[in-house]
Subunit: 305 residues, 2 copies
Amino acid sequence: MSRVLLTGATGLIGSRAIAPLLAAGHEVHALARDPHAIDEDRDLTANVNRHAVNLLDWETTRAVVYEIEADALLHFAWYAEHGRFWAAAENLPWVGATLNLLRLFGEAGGVRAVLAGSCAEYEWGADGICSEVDTPLRPATLYGTAKHATEMVASAYANATGLELAWGRIFLCYGPGEDERRLVPSVIRALLAGHEADVSDGEQLRDFMHTDDLARAFVELLDSQVDGAVNIASGEGVRLAEVIALIAEEIGRPELVRLGALPRREGDPAKLLADVSRLREEVGFERRISLGRGIRDTIAWWRER
Amino acid sequence: MSRVLLTGATGLIGSRAIAPLLAAGHEVHALARDPHAIDEDRDLTANVNRHAVNLLDWETTRAVVYEIEADALLHFAWYAEHGRFWAAAENLPWVGATLNLLRLFGEAGGVRAVLAGSCAEYEWGADGICSEVDTPLRPATLYGTAKHATEMVASAYANATGLELAWGRIFLCYGPGEDERRLVPSVIRALLAGHEADVSDGEQLRDFMHTDDLARAFVELLDSQVDGAVNIASGEGVRLAEVIALIAEEIGRPELVRLGALPRREGDPAKLLADVSRLREEVGFERRISLGRGIRDTIAWWRER
């Protein structure tokens, strides 16, 4: 059992990390700008210690980190406004905020930190399967660059101080609470409302993982002794058209899907998959939520909105 | 003529940038925690606008940057405590402070920024001549990593926003005001006091440039249209033993130098030189202060202490 400092606790993935952290017996200290927004499951969050912190405010962050004196850090918070985050100036203060948090955590006695990175750190090249060992780290975006730069400094800091550090690179995910402008929710909402869903040709190969699996993978990484970069993904490629077809089939409105009605997003690679051998073999993680079940759950969540 | 925001204005190099900035006709706004310490030359600094700012305090920095509305930024400030800076945690907040400053400068209407990087960003490999184009960027230290990570994000931010950005990688320098624990001042002070100077074998090849030349190179880079990374160095290699011999000859006490009395510093490469073709051909910079003259000037400065 560790005392875990969790950031981004109201976010898409961080909110899903609370259950597996508690299930693993950890004492959870959740940081959020508005900690009252941590309300996914009231039975669960009754056991969570909440702290109101804006991580961009270094002084408040210092006080809270020194008050908690956590052993472990699980850091998800970052600027994540849909669409804007790829090129936004807000990535810059999050580099500083993340490094500040890591340093305070280390100086306050922290032992092991797991931080959220991104598949956007990799060069999205010809072969399309990203490996922590072999794929060049040449981010094409400001977001990917900011994440990778943060990893470089965090890792050098960990080496210099003896802190244990792992860096989970997130691929695509979906699940309840996802921004409604993203692919899965936008198709679900259109079809539930009986509207046409305009999408691209859908031939892009991606790795989709449910946020519950994704968050649990991070908790298992935290509880492991694995250091360095680890891809956090299912290891299975699926065409976007297949994901859309699953949604359409479950809702029963396949005729509303208009494949090819939209162009592909600029810079969108044909294939973006993950080599998950580190996650499977070293961390021992296995996916529990199949794409079919995950999509059904996500549709059920949107039906209740 | 530009309105230039200068940071590190009380530091070893930043303090030397004031004269060439004024000589080039710029309006100089010097930022320093204690701006009254900008007193190298009172005739000169009468023309400098001074601002008391701790760049680690983002709110004060914001207010000052928006008040100045500079066109150009010349940023030298960083954590630089002798010996400690290579592995110090203080490198982390300086990544954040630098990115914060750059963003504020850009958002307040800034056009062109020149930031100070380091030869420590390069892999110090076998061939020993660092090129902006060919040499791998694999820093061996936390300091070098923090500098390089800052460059990566700064450069991606500049690309995303249209800001002009150049990054000057500093090699070795010497001159008045250098920390007395560093090689040149420590040998000068020992010999002036009539003590033995214990040094390493002195076979290491380095590129030494006087801080006046170094600062002027940065000002010329600022006034150029050159973007990206530029090595700031003389382009001439010299053995440490030759530098020491110049000092000993000038002071007239060669018998006090004990070459080989100290081991080399761990990780100290045999050869660390700069390819300066970008600085010479694109920026048009030429060194003015020969090593012999620079050493004489520096000795004269120490005699007056």
